[in-house]
Amino acid sequence: MSGEDVVAITPDKLNVEEITEMVKCPQAGAVTVFLGTTRDNFEDKKVIKLEYEAYVPMAEAEMRKLCHQIREKWNVEKIAIIHRIGIVPVMDASVIIAVSSVHRKESVEAVHYCIDSLKSSVPIWKKEVYGDGSCNWKENKE
């Protein structure tokens, strides 16, 4: 079943339709999709864009580990985890996770677990670039 998993790091704009199609299948009754999108503010500062950087081969390996963990915990059909790097403008997605399953509970829980775990285990970093020209490397708290 792990042949059904797609993980990727890409500099290209992410397309939710395309990533949803990757996980659709005739036996699945549910698809859950999560998009992490660039916000226009951090505390009182105006955010212009984010710049993402990844340790690509290790990030992809950690994303494959997440797929294995999901399959140990839930009975899911297909998994796609795609993370964008480089500049990500406000409202664009930096990450899209899609999971299909026969029944709805599995795909929703798996996606929730996946985004939480991705933030704590996958070597990717973002720098916020503010309206005043300053910038800051972020740190996932949770």
Binding site: Y55, P57, A59, S94
Partner: protein, 90 residues
């Protein structure tokens, strides 16, 4: 008697890349050493990392290693050691 040394690759990312001013370097390190010794060796060569040293994780050949681990590491020529500042993907 000192342990024999090997040359390994060092990769820097995000804040650590900016502090060091480059993406990659090489370093000579003992074949057998504790994780704590690995941190020390890297900080000795790149003291500019000192301000963030408490927040750095290290990956050896794309696997995280725990700094407080007391089992020694065995390095091979050409191993890939990545300096991992706090993650902020997603």
């Amino acid at each position: 008697m000192e342990s024999a040394e090997v040359e390994v690759r060092l990769l820097f990312f995000a804040k650590s890349r900016e502090l060091v001013g480059r993406k990659e370097d090489t370093i000579k390190l003992p074949i057998h050493l504790l994780p704590a010794g690995l941190w020390e060796g890297i900080l000795a060569k790149h003291p500019c990392l000192q301000p963030i040293s408490d927040n750095i994780t290290i990956a050896l050949n794309q696997e995280y290693i725990a700094r407080e681990e007391t089992e020694p590491i065995v390095l091979k020529e050409g191993d890939e050691i990545a300096i991992i500042p706090p993650l902020s993907g997603g």
